[in-house]
Symmetry: C2
Subunit: 414 residues, 2 copies
Amino acid sequence: MKRVVIAGMGFGGIRTARVLAGKGFDVVLVDRNNYHLFQPLLYQVATAGLEQESIAYPVRAMARHWPGTRFHLAEVTGFDFDGRRVLTDNDPIPFDYLVVGAGSVTNYFGLESVERQAFDLKELVDGERLRNHILTAFERAVIEPDPARRRALMTFVIVGGGPTGVEFSGALVELVRYVLAKDYPELSVQAARVVLVEAFDRLLAAMPEELQVYTLEKLRGMGVEVLLNARVVDAGPERVTLHDGAVIPAHTLFWSAGVKAAPLAAALGAPQKAGGRIPVEPDLTLPGRPEVFVVGDMAWLEQDGAPLPMVAPVAMQMGTYAGEAILARERGESLAPFRYRDKGNMATIGRSAAVASAFGMNLRGYAAWVAWLLLHLYYLIGFRNRIVVMLNWIWYYWFHERQVRLITERERAE
Amino acid sequence: MKRVVIAGMGFGGIRTARVLAGKGFDVVLVDRNNYHLFQPLLYQVATAGLEQESIAYPVRAMARHWPGTRFHLAEVTGFDFDGRRVLTDNDPIPFDYLVVGAGSVTNYFGLESVERQAFDLKELVDGERLRNHILTAFERAVIEPDPARRRALMTFVIVGGGPTGVEFSGALVELVRYVLAKDYPELSVQAARVVLVEAFDRLLAAMPEELQVYTLEKLRGMGVEVLLNARVVDAGPERVTLHDGAVIPAHTLFWSAGVKAAPLAAALGAPQKAGGRIPVEPDLTLPGRPEVFVVGDMAWLEQDGAPLPMVAPVAMQMGTYAGEAILARERGESLAPFRYRDKGNMATIGRSAAVASAFGMNLRGYAAWVAWLLLHLYYLIGFRNRIVVMLNWIWYYWFHERQVRLITERERAE
């Protein structure tokens, strides 16, 4: 029985596993976490809308239903391609086929002071940590006698006008205006600032212009200060500095202005493209290593003259393709080259407001928002998780209330 | 307007606040956490049955509905009674009346090696930490080649046959037998051991004998090894030593064999009784300090010749009494001395099995279990929390499934 090792249980890896389950392979799933994380909703954990447990799903709970698969909790540290082994912080794991999808990490583009100060949202713990930080900032503001410092504690700078930046700033401004305003009657919460900084002249670069304009107007209407053509170049504990020297006194800096391939990409031993990504053959294999597939954010593949974006739908389709390519190979066949089918784009802005572009249609407002909710519930793994998430959303919609306002770990005072 | 400071948002403190809300006081609620924790369900967080967010409720979410109250996130560090101020890790808070209910901490009775090794369940983080540890033990067992070490990784020693020890060992053995057995087909999970160690000759000392016997038989039937008349005297990373020198190779030690008053009790400046508790007057005030009330686990009050137990119902009734005593004082009246009305006792053992003793009736099995579920849902704070908890319980009952099997933080390998 041939062994397939799948390194990384992200959107790509779990789809490869699903394709190969029950097909006569010994499939070993490896991840340093024992769960699959539904990253697109992590910003709702950070804004007290969801509990972290509802957006993660144990790998073993999936593997139970996938005959021939088993899970190995370990961190992949490198590869011994000639010996056909994956190296881990535990024993090496031999393979016949290998699928690598270790995803991406935040790219600070060498801005060290920003990297030190900024929060990001990639891992499950990041959501809870950022939530603790935001709520603690308000608790400190309550007892801060100096008005300037109080205002800085209530100022949040978000860098990057892509989907994550837009969704997080919308969710944050709603948290502040609707929920925390009631929690902190002693503060004039209207003084709180949510500042979204985008380097280009528009938000949601991948969207049609009509929806970009809607998003900008909607966010501004909700109270987000959107700065276009602006870049953050430096940061300190209580300030953020822009490209033109302007200083925003702010206690919280959130960075979603770039990602790069996970550091494990370097261990693949191939020349890396922009963002550390690994160029792959049209069948997603590593050049010269037909038994090694690279999927998701780590893979660099050009289609119609541009590299595929580092987004979940690409990873999902690549993961499925890698599984099918292995099946085909074993039958002595080969698949047509991988081709990404772009089903569209969406982003939620706030309550009853989202934008979606799919099948040549542009949706915005309530209809797009409902579409966004349903699609995210559909892709979330686990029936119980779906119910808990839906419950939280209904709660918020009806009662304008987010209940996960817990500070689960105290930050040391600075 | 007179100011009442309530130090500690446990079962006692929140009831004092509820009584005083809207009665013309300036009520300041102080806690080092921004939530009230429903400790009795913490063991279900540790056994992957509940997410931690569903058993905690933000103090500010309660305070919104309590006119005249406000919350102050701070750790109380001491008291300046002559200056009528509570000292905190922030600014001191002046008071006219003070209610102190800082609860209890685990009592290891000076067993230092045990204190170093053992897990307990007092704080919210303890639940998640213990869950991570239990699940990580199984992940390590999967890859452990040495059978003896593998068995130790799957051996759990629980000390203390009170409600917490009984409930935790029942929930743990069910987690192992019904849920983890499916997750780890590569392990012979039947080799896992859950050992409950009790110093006396019976479990649930506060219960009628009939229910003690039922509990013992039920737990043993479920696969828990119950050792009566046994004490743990020493512990190391992979072993637990009993009073008779017997050594149990075990990777996990859980301690629920005793509590003592929180260290803050010493700052009250009164002579302390057993377990560091502070003797109070019949109206729950500190001797010589009629404006200072002590409620809950910290208070030592004898009734019918014995000190009141350190349990939630006592704290709740004391909290309510302290509030009413302050109201009476302001009206120039005084209340009858505090008297605890014991409404009974209950403990759940497992699925469809619990014991309850109330109003002269002894219930066991399914009826007691339903009573336990309803009562805990009733006392849990927050409608959303109740629904999420109920959902988890229904899930477990129908599907024999606990979905919060996440390792949210990796332990360092030893």
